[in-house]
Assembly symmetry: C2
Homo-oligomer: 282 residues x 2
Amino acid sequence: MRIIKSSQRLQRIVRQLRKKNKTIGFVPTMGALHEGHLSLIRKAKKENDICLLSIFVNPLQFGPREDFHHYPRPVRSDNLLAKKEKVDIIFHPSGKSMYPSGFLTTVEVAQLSDALCGRSRPGHFRGVTTVVAKLLNIVGPNIMYLGQKDAQQAIILKRMVADLNFPTTIKICPTVREKGGLALSSRNKYLTARHRQQAAILYRSLKEAKGKIKSGERRATAIIRHIRSRIEKMSAGRIDYVACVDARTLVPLQTIRGHVMLALAVKFGEARLIDNIIFKVS
Amino acid sequence: MRIIKSSQRLQRIVRQLRKKNKTIGFVPTMGALHEGHLSLIRKAKKENDICLLSIFVNPLQFGPREDFHHYPRPVRSDNLLAKKEKVDIIFHPSGKSMYPSGFLTTVEVAQLSDALCGRSRPGHFRGVTTVVAKLLNIVGPNIMYLGQKDAQQAIILKRMVADLNFPTTIKICPTVREKGGLALSSRNKYLTARHRQQAAILYRSLKEAKGKIKSGERRATAIIRHIRSRIEKMSAGRIDYVACVDARTLVPLQTIRGHVMLALAVKFGEARLIDNIIFKVS
């Protein structure tokens, strides 16, 4: 396993791999790897000649009052986990090399970036699209693997890749969960034991809502009300949003039909947790 | 010479060329080819295995009151000229294929895009950077060739390519001029014979100003005043701007030194002409 810090060096390595007709599967992360990341790595490993993992806590996607400085950076254990999964290359750039002085360029996906998490985290998705545009140009992957847990991010990056003609396919892989249902996230480390237990209600309430829709409920307001009241009743979480939207446009639904996404963000102490569930309603 | 309209098809062709280790020199244009474009094509042809020319009148870089609909599109003569220069591939996409419905992504270079032409053409450079990001991903060139005439565009695109890590080198080639000094431009077609004659003062005034600086003048205001008064005296042109800026940051200079750019935009009837001159002052 090679650990590369310089983007120029990685670009040279990738050029050589391309000449040998090697395919590259790419998993972009901010490190603090958990089973969710590992599931992406395993898929990338299986479907490509080379599995390339990036670890970069991207300052551009954090707001001024967010957890950039506290975000976990367990470099050694990340490297060990990656090695165990037989990752071929880790790209681990410094903030300075990614954003040298004089950096002025941004990539932005309108509309989709303003919905849901974009509302409470202004500029967040612009930070994501900008860094991923850079990473795609550095890594030149055949396939990029993203987790369904960050559904809005995945939808926005799919749009960016299509709009800007990046020669990369995006594959979105299922959310990995704890036994109780809580979606794995590097930010779960911020949870107290009590909050962690309570947070299981997030996914449970989404599943219940899906059940109600499958049984015939079509009013988005009723569904949202149900999810909110379950979270409020069963936990100390502060709801940021609960939404019922079209899963492709992120536009709020009134009558539930088509590709539906139920999504939520809830804060427990310092931790802002997100989750979602996507399904078709005919 | 192959003429390709589909970006997917071109990406397949480029992938094959890459596998054969062919280098690609790329000249992005809006067509209406003149000797300025041909000089870029010749250089691309000479320095690469494959010379790829794009012809696309990019709606995104025209303001609502600008000349998008009138912009010349002499498709047949462009193709003939390209063929004569032994261009290998012309990429000639439709507006709809470049910007299908649902298109939402923009690439923007801050600061540099707001100076000079950006002031009178809000959104113009965002249109340029967005389309060139797309073209770079479609064409995947080793080298992209740009003309010095559009100096601000070249500076912005260099910044974008560096910031977003595109694996492409940019080469900027000298402005090609008529005998009288007028910079070649597709928009010169809009000029009356009389205006065309008068417009020679643009370059002449820039050269005079450079002479004054070389003789010791260091006050930007005096230099700008000289250029303005010469244009006003010798032509019916309406000055949009005359500027003396740092050639890398586009920040206006007070005392002239370092990498200097004198730049101007002047309207003659419908035609908005630009020109510039760049030199070092110690």
